[in-house]
Each structure stands twice: as C-alpha cells, then as structure tokens.
C-alpha cells in the first residue's frame, strides 16, 4: 500500500488527478470498522471492574453483617421526624424515619436515579428526591414517581434501651 501512495499517478500537468478517489471509500470502510473494533475493546475493558466488583460481592461479603451502629436516642426523634446518619460506611448516607411509636424505617438515601440525597417530606408523607422530583414510598422504599426505578436499599433497625441502632442493609429480593 505504501509504495502505491508514493507514485505520482499522472504527469503533473493534470491538476485534477486528485479527484480520482477510487480507494477512498475502501479506506473509509476500513477505518470505520477499526473504530467499531476499538469501541468493542473499550466496552470490554470497562466491563472488567463491574465484573470484579460483582465477583467480590459474590464471594464473602455477600450478606454481610456490619457492626451495629447507634443512630440516635429514641428521646430525640419525635414521631414523624427523620434523622440522617451514615451506614454502613461513613460515606453511605442514610435516613431514619420514625413513623409511629414503635415503627422505624431506614434507607440508604442516595437516590437510585443519580444518587442525590433523598429527604423526608413530613407533610406529604413521602420521600422526595430534589434533583428530578423522584418520590419513594416511605414504608417500602419503592419508587412511586419520577425517574428512579429501583427501590432504596432498606436498613434494618432495632430499638435497644432507648436508642435506635442500624443492624444491616437488606438485600433486594431477586
């Protein structure tokens, strides 16, 4: 291919010889195919971290128990109120809502759409994501309006000696 390019096709008094682009189409197609192969490569490489993360999750830390963590005292949260906390890691922000005397619910409050923090709207009795007005059912964490499609991960809580503890993150039922 390379020596073909070096050849001068006609005597140089022909100023239109470069209109002759017979082979250009072929190069186009070849280049396009190369791009497609490259894209497949990018997809392949970018799948790897997901695969490894999933594998890690499958082995071992599957349904992991975290250290129980005290969220708040029962005294300091009134019925219908919510407190923010972090569980299990310090960057996994979560929200605890006291629905009635003995009924608490807690969710990881990163919106399942694009991870904005979901907050508790006491008046409307629903959890609202301010970013795109996603709404979640407070009893189950299922999305009821807006872009989110997955439920919020629920956190099991338990009340012990006048304090509320986070126990573990519930798995989705497959």
């Amino acid at each position: 291919m390379s020596d073909k390019n070096k050849k001068i096709p006609y005597d140089e008094d022909n100023y239109t010889h470069n209109i002759n682009r017979n082979n250009e189409r072929k190069l186009d197609r070849r280049g396009f195919m190369k791009t497609l192969v490259g894209a497949a490569g990018v997809f392949a490489v970018s799948s790897l971290p997901w695969g490894t993360l999933a594998a890690k999750e499958l082995m071992g830390l599957g349904d992991k128990e975290y250290k129980h963590k005290k969220i708040t005292d029962v005294k300091s949260i009134a019925i219908g109120d919510a407190v923010d906390f972090a569980f299990p890691g310090e960057h996994d922000s979560a929200i605890l809502i006291r629905l009635s005397e003995n009924h608490y619910v807690a969710y990881q409050n990163a919106c399942t759409h694009l991870r904005c923090p979901v907050f508790w709207d006491k008046k409307e009795e629903e959890m609202i994501c301010p970013c795109h007005h996603g709404k979640f059912d407070v009893k189950t964490g299922t999305p009821i309006a807006g872009p989110p499609r997955r439920p919020l991960p629920e956190i099991q809580v338990k009340v012990d000696k006048g304090a509320v503890y986070a126990v573990r993150v519930k798995r989705y039922e497959a």
Binding site: R25, M33, V37, A40, A44, W50, G51, E57, L58
Partner: protein, 69 residues
C-alpha cells in the same frame, strides 16, 4: 457495490450487543444480581475478540478480492 458490507453490519451488531449488555450489567449490579452482572461482563469481554476476528476476516477477504481485480 463490489465490496461486502457484511463485516460492517456484524461489527455494528456487536456494538449494539455491547451497549445492551453494558446497560444490563450496570442495572443488574445495582439490583444486586451479581451473577447476572458477571455474565454480562463476560459477554462484553468475549465480544471484543469476536470483533477482532471479524475485522481480520474482512481484511483477508479484501486482499483476496484485490488479487482478482
């Protein structure tokens, strides 16, 4: 149209599959169906050599054609 566009079509199909499986993979990950995540990731990885194979095959065919010209 002398040239065959089968290779291009196949590669486009592969790209489409890549997109589908990538989306599936991410969703399954957040749904915590990790097995499905791994399967989708594996498919994505396998599609790459397949794409290379298609490309190589096309190149070879092209050369064969040139010799006949």
């Amino acid at each position: 149209m002398k040239r065959s566009y089968v290779g291009v079509a196949l590669l486009c199909a592969i790209l489409m599959l890549n997109i589908i499986f990538t989306q599936y993979m991410v969703h399954q990950y957040f749904f915590e169906n990790y097995k499905n995540t791994i399967i989708a990731a594996a498919v994505n990885v396998i599609l790459f050599p397949v794409a290379i194979y298609i490309y190589k095959r096309d190149k070879k065919q092209d050369k064969g054609m040139k010799n006949h010209e």
